[in-house]
Symmetry: C2
Subunit: 375 residues, 2 copies
């Protein structure tokens, strides 16, 4: 696929939300069966592995898959559609002929390689925080602002995982009865800090149970049967850590509302790969749990798990491996006697909707509607 | 010690908070070295064991310690001041000659035996929820409402652990700048469900790490690297579970403010024995983090752990075994542009300040000030 074609493929297609029909590019890729040359940067990481799986499981039109990582991981192989694909060391020439590059190798790598790839005509969907707040870069959750993806200049940013999991279920409510204030308290899994943090949680817990000492190296605090304020840097003036600032600022950008009233407390809990969030929000006019349930029952990307009789609500164990964000504990926030506030509890797979799945969904938005791709 | 003395010992003494001097009973107990006959009901439980430890470590004037539990635990022994004390089976005659009984054997046992003990002249401090909302029973956190203890009619209730840990650090702020709304999101340890739940967390996690199946029997959901909405019954109408309702209603009673605006989301996390809580609260007039820090630095029962440079904040591992409730992440709640809201994060030992310690502190309040007892 030549540079001109590639440049056109990802420019101004229909967002998946509006499903206005298949683009001629998609028809061509579908008809020829050729698909696109897709690269995954950071392929050996926790998100990288899920990106490869998502591409395969969702039937994304991949003509060729290229896997990149640091020299440490080069030579390893990942399975894709029954083939073993070798991971290559990332370099400046890696993006030649690549249509779409999904980055998940940290901000430093994204800052160095994403603009270079974009200049060569590769569309970059970046899972790092490097470009999220850049006003020229769309920050996209397809269920919320798919149309923003169309305005890209070669790079689209994938939002912070805690932000995606918190606000995907909030948006359908916000559209009907605007949210005037949001309080977020997170219960975040190890996976957000990468595969090594997941391993540290397992190994330190094993050591704890066997009464052996364990020297933690990945996270700043002992993790076995412990929890701690999110490990990102804390701003000395505001007192907010970087994770909380991301949730706050990215929500405002995705909602296209710079004054959106939101606060967050981000906490790392000893769970492997699904984040939970307690949400308390105040709407413009009175609202009740039953209406929220009706709105969410019809919303894309969320699944209501709210069985009060069985005491069965969203849990990391159930969210793990699921595309949908689970929502439950939907009830009036009784601290607001005006009847305008709701409390609810959500769980989402940090590696899927919180990262890899959302990135692939953004790419799908730029191609055409999902049904076309699945066909 | 005769019935008349026992009846008088625990009637109308000075609360520890006001420290108006030693009562004549205390002088007598101290001078003679006789102390009181103290019973622990539920001695084999997670809280029971800590009650015995607290009595010893705080030098409570115990002339004789009696330990009671069900027939299953009768015959087991606990160490107290170098002696092995045998656990007896609880019965209707158990409270003869007992001055003070500390109950922690569940609501059913409290409902059956506490009134019986109180009628015999034994002062009961009850850790269950059986009498907490009874208007004739004081519900006491000594740092907040020690004076309420004086109005007892033989039974004093020890509040819910999540309530104690949430509001002990809030009270000193509330006194200076009244809190108009409080949002509580908890991160609760296994210990709140008892020693068997702690064992289930350990064993199920070991099984998970060894890839073995595990059939949970104590808690309603798999606990290894998982979290879940609190396991108490959920009210079908309000959507709140019993733990949340306790936090809400007990706070109102302890603050002596039936209209206090508060909501709670209670979550069980895979931590052994210290609860954490994210608090967002709105005051009557503008307030800032620096003022909150000054207030809490001078407050009893709390310790500020708020090192933004080192990213060191309250954690279960540090709260475990500590009397004080740890408070940190003190910052402006930026979702409230009026400047009247604060966010903070606290951690407290569920078995100590959340249960056993608070119960023994209530007893101390009724004796005299803590310094006298420690002397």
């Amino acid at each position: 696929m030549g540079d001109i074609l590639r440049a056109r493929v990802f420019t101004a297609l229909t967002p998946c939300a509006s499903v206005a029909g298949m683009s001629h590019f998609m028809q061509r890729a579908g008809a020829s069966g050729a698909g696109f040359v897709v690269a995954v940067v950071g392929a050996s990481g926790a998100v990288g592995v899920e990106l490869v799986r998502c591409l395969e499981e969702r039937g994304f039109p991949v003509a060729e898959l290229k896997l990149f990582a640091s020299s440490r991981s080069a030579g390893k192989r990942l399975s894709f559609r029954g083939q073993q694909v070798e991971i290559e060391e990332l370099g400046e020439q890696s993006f030649r002929g690549v249509d779409l590059a999904l980055f998940s190798a940290g901000s430093a790598i994204s800052k160095r390689y994403a603009p270079l790839a974009a200049r060569q005509g590769t569309l970059v969907i970046d899972n790092s925080s490097a470009f999220r707040m850049d006003p020229t870069v769309p920050l996209v959750i397809p269920e919320i602002n798919a149309a923003a993806a169309l305005k890209h200049r070669g790079i689209i940013a994938n939002p912070n995982c805690a932000a995606i999991i918190s606000i995907t279920p909030l948006w359908p409510i916000h559209r009907i009865n605007p949210v005037r204030r949001l309080i977020v308290s997170t219960y975040q899994a190890a996976s957000g800090a990468g595969a090594a943090a997941m391993q540290e949680l397992r190994e330190s817990t094993r050591a704890f149970l066997e009464d052996r000492p364990y020297a933690h190296t990945v996270l700043p605090h002992p993790y076995a049967f412990n929890l701690f304020s999110h490990n990102t840097k804390v701003d000395a003036v505001t007192g907010y850590n970087e994770e909380e600032t991301k949730v706050i600022e990215e929500t405002r950008k995705i909602f296209a509302d710079p004054g959106f009233r939101i606060t967050a407390t981000c906490v790392r809990v000893p769970v492997l790969r699904a984040h939970c969030v307690a949400l308390n929000f105040e709407c413009e006019t009175p609202i009740n749990a039953s209406l929220v349930r009706d709105i969410l029952a019809a919303a894309p990307g969320v699944k209501i798990i709210d069985d009060t009789a069985a005491n069965y609500f969203p849990m990391p164990k159930d969210a793990t491996g699921q595309d949908a964000i689970l929502v439950g504990r939907i009830r009036q926030d009784v601290s607001d006697p005006s009847g305008r506030s709701i409390a609810m509890f959500v769980a989402g797979d940090q590696l899927l909707k919180g990262a890899a799945l959302n990135a692939v969904q953004i790419a799908e938005c730029l191609l055409a509607d999902q049904k076309t791709i699945a066909a």
